[in-house]
């Protein structure tokens, strides 16, 4: 915990560096998008960059690096359930496409 005034003074420089990094990474995202790379590549790059940015915000601005493990465990649990929620509905689509179901065919028989 950066509680004393002196410690916080030391943190200030870090905040400005993170700020700079975030702006640069935003530029990178936009630039990559402008190159019109393939969709798969775009997804990977954009989400990778966004993850880095998110990590920077969480670790430095939200001081997650300095928190005790209990909070980290709670957030990890949260992340796990988040992934379940994201992936399971997608799997149902996957199974449908695997031939068990003719999705989006609606009223059409053939």
């Amino acid at each position: 915990m950066g509680s004393s005034a002196h410690e916080i003074q030391g943190h200030l420089k870090k905040y400005y560096m993170v700020f700079g990094a975030l702006l640069v990474l935003t530029g990178v995202t936009v630039a990559v998008a402008e190159f019109h790379v393939s969709i798969g590549m775009a997804i990977v790059v954009a989400l990778f960059v966004a993850s880095i940015k998110g990590t920077l915000v969480a670790c430095y601005f939200m001081h997650l690096m300095e928190e005790k493990s209990m909070l980290i465990w709670i957030l990890a649990l949260c992340a796990l359930f988040f992934l379940m929620l994201l992936l399971v509905p997608m799997f149902t689509i996957g199974e449908q496409d695997a031939g068990l179901m003719e999705r989006m065919r609606g009223l059409s028989p053939n």
């Binding site: 509680s3 702006l23 998008a33 939200m62 999705r103």
Partner: protein, 291 residues
């Protein structure tokens, strides 16, 4: 008001390393992760399951959101939010270092940046709500304006050619009873006949020729639905953040005189919330605009 003294109201608890308020706000943020998580899940599921050629809206050349959204405005907004996150953390740092005035100034800048974000968002929303997609019953060609066509699978599974135009409604003509007679429709550059270099011309369209006419509002497509709901909810979070920050700038700041530590703690909690709102946007920007 109450005589009860709640332990660890200001001092951190040895086990968690957090005072009550901070632990509480983190738990709240965990629930927010699940809230936005469900919305991201919705977005992903609908996108993966979207019939070919209907994402982000029927007729767009690629599946990227920037076919219909403006990236520069969103990039500007990203910069606003990132900056506001920095000023927020600086506001807290200054309060912690005992500088009330500087802390307040940084907080004010944060509020202003949040306000700027909302102004930009207003223009983005407004342009969408006045932009129309018209689907015709059959091929449309009148006064030099020709509908574009797009071959895709309908929800009913059959292949179907969709004839459509994007543009603006310049004028809606109604008869004495208020029933709509026709629309004076100005097609967008890229969908008007003749392509580059030709001035687009307005054309009259009658309701009987139209299969479906929507704005690029939430009902325009499932992508636009996701866009409006997710950014709308995010916008509400911004509004909420502004209200809280204004309160701490004005009425709430009295606490500094009596309990400076508690006041700084509250700004820290507000900051945690604010960084989370920023964090959500960091993911929203590429997901909605660039993919």
């Amino acid at each position: 008001m109450s005589a009860t003294v709640i332990p660890y109201d200001v001092k951190p608890h040895p086990l968690t390393g957090m005072y009550n308020g901070k632990f509480g706000i983190w738990l709240f943020l965990a629930s927010e992760i699940m809230l936005f998580g469900a919305l991201f899940s919705t977005y992903v599921l609908l996108r993966v399951g979207a019939p070919e050629g209907t994402w982000p809206i029927a007729g767009s050349p690629t599946t990227r959101g920037d076919n219909i959204l403006q990236v520069p405005l969103a990039a500007l907004n990203t910069a606003f939010l990132i900056t506001s996150s920095v000023t927020m953390v600086l506001a807290w740092a200054n309060l912690k270092m005992g500088s009330f005035k500087k802390g307040q100034q940084f907080l004010l800048v944060t509020v202003l940046l949040a306000g700027a974000f909302l102004v930009v968002k207003y223009f983005e929303y407004n342009s969408k709500l006045h932009h129309y997609a018209v689907t015709f019953n059959e091929h449309f060609d009148r006064d030099g304006v020709e509908s574009k066509s797009f071959k895709g699978l309908t929800q009913a599974g059959t292949e179907k050619t969709i004839h459509y135009l994007w543009g603006h409604v310049e004028e809606t003509k109604k008869d004495a009873d208020g029933a709509i007679q026709s629309y004076l429709f100005m097609p967008d550059h890229d969908t008007s006949h003749g392509g580059e270099g030709h001035e687009p011309k307005a054309v009259e369209i009658h309701p009987a020729e139209i299969a479906r006419m929507t704005t690029f509002g939430p009902g325009g497509s499932s992508f636009l639905g996701c866009y409006f709901v997710i950014t709308g909810l995010h916008g509400l979070h911004i509004v909420g953040g502004i209200v809280v920050m204004l309160w701490f700038l004005l009425t709430g700041s009295k606490m500094w005189k009596t309990q400076p530590d508690k006041y700084a703690n509250r700004i820290e909690c507000t900051g945690l919330y604010w960084h989370f709102v920023d964090l959500v946007w960091i993911f929203l920007f590429p997901v909605l605009y660039l993919l």
